[in-house]
């Protein structure tokens, strides 16, 4: 299932036209912000890092040509900046022996696993595909949980099921996805274990 990507107007980007940057923002901000937000767990820093990425694009706008892969450029810079940020945070947290240090360490490792832009996009498409194949009752719960505003409690209320059921459905969804996506997730340990 190939997505149709909008074609960016390179000439307008080079000239620094507002509309062209607005389009690029619309296309990418959400994805990049989501990644930063979830790996860094800080809204302000996530916003800063994503904005920095676009500023970097602005800075090099005159060197843009038809060949340059803008998507890959934006993704790579954001990911590297996130990794750098996590690394720096890890260093400062290490000395405080804070539990956050381990959390950041794992976030760092997880983010590293996302690979380059092509791998990331491939995984993203596969996940979308796999989600659409989930059993219908699970799909509804899972889709609701895809909106951050809905906590498990809210989903439970809305669907008239218990929080336990929400959890169970989401676990099942994740498990199905993991099996479905086994070729796309970097699995080092082949023996699959259930997480409970």
């Amino acid at each position: 299932m190939d997505k149709q990507y909008p074609i960016f107007n390179i000439t307008a980007l080079r000239k620094g036209e507002k509309k062209a940057y607005e389009e690029i923002y619309t296309e990418f901000f959400g994805v990049l912000y989501h990644l930063c937000l979830h790996y860094l767990r800080n809204e302000k820093i996530a916003e800063e890092l994503v904005q920095d990425t676009f500023l970097k694009l602005w800075e090099i706008r005159e060197t843009l040509n038809e060949q340059i892969n803008i998507r890959s450029f934006l993704y790579t810079i954001t990911k590297n900046n996130c990794l750098n940020h996590l690394r720096n945070q890890k260093i400062s947290l290490k000395h405080q022996e804070n539990m956050k240090y381990l959390e950041m360490q794992f976030n760092y490792e997880a983010l590293e696993k996302l690979g380059n832009y092509i791998q990331f996009e491939e995984l993203r498409n596969k996940i979308d595909d796999a989600i659409s194949k989930l059993p219908s009752e699970i799909i509804e719960t899972f889709r609701l949980s895809r909106f951050e505003e809905f906590s498990y409690k809210e989903i439970a209320d809305q669907q008239g099921i218990s929080i336990k059921t929400v959890e169970a459905r989401i676990s099942r969804a994740l498990r199905i996805l993991r099996v479905e996506l086994k070729d796309y997730l970097p699995i080092i340990y082949m023996i699959s274990r259930i997480f409970c």
Binding site: E48, N84, R146, L177, I187, Y189
Partner: protein
Amino acid sequence: MSEEIFHKILNNTADESEKQEFFRSIEIDPEKKEEYLQYKNLYILGNLNPDQYRKQQDESFSNFWDRVQSAKPQRFIGQWMRYAAVFILASVLSFMANYVLYPKESADSGNHIEYSSEKGSVSTVHLKDGSSIWLSSGTKLVIDKNKKGETIARLNGEAFFDLISNPNRKFIVDLGQFQIRDIGTAFNVRAYESENTISTTLVKGQIDLIKDSGKSLLTIKPGEYVKYDKTNKEIAVNQQDPSIATAWKDGKFVFINQPLSEICMELENWYNVEIRIDDLKLANTRYTSVVKRSTTIEMVLKILSVTDQIQYEITNKKEGKDIIRIRK
């Protein structure tokens, strides 16, 4: 491991003790950890719905647009002191270090490893025991084991050592005139062959300065900044905030009341350019500044030029380094 905790970890509702239990348990179990990392990515990507950030997007874009439109040099920071111009580039691009490493293991000895970091980038070296070493722009580091089993590091450039305490391992930084001996510490060493001084700043732990004769010179405590002058062979110990010496590691230049000549040396090294100052008085004028390293040299010069009526001229060379002339 209860499934409930696992969910709480994924959707970030676990409390501190639950997190502690969970992270400690996966830390010691690589298989479980691998599984967690996969689920984490799956959860994050599975929850990806870009449209939910429309509000943040609009705010961010309008902010972005304001910034790029007002990027022309401005007189934006007051508080001028006669000798110190404070220019803080708060709104600059984020640090993008190229973590490029070039380990060259020589064939004759398994204990001899060379690392280097190119101009304009910061590299990190991770040793097997968990210690890390950051290499600043244009730095070369050679690590050897001597007959006594001590690890000897030779440095041309600047490096930050974050060493794991290990009583069985002796780690020595050999600086020619003297050595730094360490047992589990974090410290910065600046020893460019091209510079007249060698300096070290201790962040934590303790390090000993040893003469090449083996005689202990002095013990350095955290927060102390030791500078050695190669010409008159004098050692000076001062107090300094360690974050200043290690700012390069976090992608910043920090200059505190430093002459323009020294600042330019730093800029030359990072941007790989040659800077000529046509005025001795100007070369000795002191500045205080914090600049992110990811900004362009042009931007740094632009800021200097608005802050202190400095003129600059960049000559792009086809071969060799670009030359920048600075004058009043």
